[in-house]
């Protein structure tokens, strides 16, 4: 039975259902219970934004508040995964990856390959990503390209509660290490979500909106901006197809290529920085594999090559908007529309 719940509730529900189903699922992270060892409530927070609230009471002993030692507890989650557990570790902000990157880059990602296909590391690392929260340079980054670059990691970045629940369940059941990116500005966003457990397969993009004139490829928060832009463009007679990648590694090239072969135009929207990003990746792939179908140069809409600024006026400039996306689309559709 579907009912409207938020992205944040969907994450909580996925964790709840998987913990109920599988006793090897444990949760580790800073303040995921919150209040451990203090004089007040033990379950004071349920995560810094309350995402894991209530789970401690349901599964006592299976949520582990950690010291502020990201290397140790992310590594411990990885080590436990190698020993038969299915840990879900919460790295509060993906930006904190800087202090524990070795355990992801050189350990979890490489075990299966380096050990001749004999290792299993079913660990999920959840982390908040993205700008727009007035959280400045060290709590706002969209670092997805760092992880898509690394063989052995899977990278997920859902845009809505329905996908978040299904993809998190798949992440937990998956036998490879998964970096699960949760956009903090989507936590309150609500859509219809079934109450029961369901897993969405990795590597299957979602066509959010059909269109014949241009393909907009994006993920995460930017899906919503792209849909906004598409609505504006429709009023001008330009029909944009919006593709939500949902998972960035693996990535659904087939859906992207099929769409571009129909529309002949590509705009990639990525909240990450412009260099060596999903934007460049998708643009390059399309240029190589669908060059003949292209009627115009692929366009990239990204955050600038700057850290995320604090001042709201600057941060609003930093994040791609629907206007900026619509302008990019117009650049490659305008002339033909005039001729038509």
């Amino acid at each position: 039975m579907a009912r409207k719940i938020s992205f944040k509730q969907a994450i909580n529900e996925a964790l709840d259902l998987e913990m109920r189903r599988d006793p090897t699922v444990i949760l580790l992270g800073e303040d995921i219970v919150g209040g451990a060892g203090g004089k007040g409530e033990e379950d004071a927070w349920g995560g810094v934004l309350g995402v894991t609230k209530g789970l401690h009471a349901k599964y006592p002993g299976r949520l582990l508040d950690t010291p502020l030692s990201e290397s140790a507890y992310i590594g411990a989650a990885i080590g436990a995964a190698c020993c038969g557990m299915r840990p879900v570790a919460e790295l509060m902000f993906l930006d904190f990856m800087g202090v524990c990157f070795d355990q992801i880059l050189n350990q979890a990602a490489k075990f299966n390959y380096m050990f001749g296909g004999k290792a299993r590391t079913p660990v999920t690392i959840r982390a908040m990503v993205g700008a727009g929260f007035r959280a400045a340079a060290q709590h706002s980054q969209m670092l997805t390209p760092l992880f898509t670059h690394i063989p052995g990691l899977k990278v997920v970045c859902p845009s809505n509660a329905y996908d978040a629940k299904g993809l998190l369940i798949q992440s937990i059941r998956d036998n490879d290490p998964v970096i699960f990116c949760e956009h903090k500005n989507l936590y309150g966003h609500e859509v219809d979500v079934p109450a029961e457990a369901y897993a969405l397969p990795f590597g299957e993009a979602n066509i959010v909106r059909d269109g014949r004139d241009v393909t907009i490829v994006t993920y995460g928060l930017m899906v919503h901006r792209a849909v906004e832009a598409a609505a504006v463009l429709a009023k001008q007679g330009i029909e944009a197809e919006v593709i939500d990648l949902r998972t960035l590694s693996p990535i659904d090239w087939d859906t992207v290529i099929e769409s571009v072969e129909t529309t002949g135009r590509l705009v990639v929207v990525d909240e990450a920085h412009p260099r060596c990003s999903l934007a460049t990746d998708v643009a390059a792939y399309v240029a190589q594999h669908a060059f003949g179908a292209l009627k115009a140069a692929p366009q990239m809409v990204t955050a600038p090559h700057t850290p995320v600024p604090f001042s709201p006026v600057l941060e609003d400039l930093y994040l791609p908007t629907a206007d900026v996306i619509a302008t990019a689309v117009s650049r490659i559709t305008a002339r033909e529309k005039l001729v038509a």
Binding site: G75, A76, G79, Q107, F115, K118
Partner: protein, 327 residues
């Protein structure tokens, strides 16, 4: 056996000697083979340090996990990883423990509880906390042991892990293999304490420091700390003060060592000789028995080298295999 002053019965004494001799023979042979240029990459040899691996691993079974270092051959052998598969791995062959894709620094055999040698210093400490955590959830009495050198003892991962293991009371043992050198840098320069016991104390961990060339000292200390961890007493640290007969890696000219240091260590601090002298002196083991093991292992290592050299190379398709379980 009434006349046995040792904490082990004769079969276990022979087992300990066999483990140490296997490691020694393996490493001495690699030293020769590497110089011939037949082995790709680089290797870090454990010769001189055997008593530590053997003394600790005598207390472990396959349900117990270890996380090793870049100098991992000794840990692998003592934990029961197949010597033929190890040799083939070091030669980069398809029959290797990791099908030729790991090499010397990444030999692992999870079925034996060996979670991998590791090219990143100190990286095993967080991983072994996870192994300890898993053992605690399973409730099977398993323990985790992580080895790291005096050099890696200064990694944040090790320090964070000692704290994590302490607060969660994990069944974990931190073994500092203090051979005096972090690559070329002396422990006296890089570490501002005289004993790693002080560091353990700072994290609320019980600790012992022993002569790591004395198998029996390692065996007894490790036994006490592992038993404690297994019974739910929590983590501890063991410092083994030992010597490294070779350089940091093969080809290292070792000019940072004192003149004659290696010769002195080989003459006076060889854990195998020290062990043999003691068991022979009491008469619990005979010279013939020791020599028989020596001959047998010489043949085993010879056979492993011959087999490794003759073994098939990985196929081109192996390049892209096993990046993911499924993708």
């Amino acid at each position: 056996m009434s006349n046995n002053p040792f904490p082990l019965e004769k079969p276990d004494l022979l087992k300990a000697y066999r483990t140490m001799r296997t490691i020694r023979e393996f490493e001495e042979r690699l030293h020769i083979e590497f110089a011939r240029g037949d082995i790709p990459g680089f290797v870090h040899l454990y010769a001189g340090e055997e008593a530590c691996a053997a003394g600790v691993m005598m207390h472990l079974t396959d349900i117990d996990r270890i996380a090793s270092t870049h100098r991992g051959h000794g840990h692998c052998i003592a934990k029961g990883v197949d010597v033929h598969e190890m040799m083939a791995e070091i030669y980069g062959k398809a029959t290797g423990a990791c099908r030729g894709k790991g090499g010397s620094m990444h030999i692992a055999d999870l079925s034996k509880g060996m979670m991998g040698a590791n090219g990143i210093l100190g990286a095993g400490a967080p991983l072994i906390c996870g192994a300890g955590l898993a053992a605690k959830f399973r409730g099977d009495g398993g323990v985790g042991v992580t080895f790291f050198g005096d050099g890696a003892s200064n990694q944040g991962t090790v320090l964070e892990s000692m704290n994590l293991a302490a607060i969660w009371k994990l069944p974990v043992l931190f073994v500092v293999e203090n051979n005096g050198y972090a690559e070329a840098t002396s422990v006296n320069y890089a570490t501002a304490i005289d004993s790693f016991i002080d560091r353990a104390t700072g994290f609320g961990l019980p600790a012992m420091a022993v002569d790591g060339t004395d198998f029996f000292a390692v065996y007894e200390a490790a036994g006490e700390l592992i038993r404690r961890a297994r019974e739910g007493g929590g983590p501890a640290l063991l410092e083994c003060r030992m010597v490294r007969f070779f350089g940091h890696f093969e080809g290292d000219a070792q000019t940072y060592k004192a003149k004659g240091e290696n010769d002195f260590n080989r003459a006076n601090r060889d854990c195998l000789n020290l062990f043999a002298e003691r068991v022979l002196e009491v008469g619990i083991v005979s010279t013939e028995e020791i020599e028989a093991i020596d001959r047998e292992l010489l043949l085993l290592i010879e056979a492993s080298v011959t087999a490794a050299k003759a073994a098939p190379l990985p196929a081109p398709r192996d390049l892209t295999a096993d990046v993911y379980v499924s993708y």
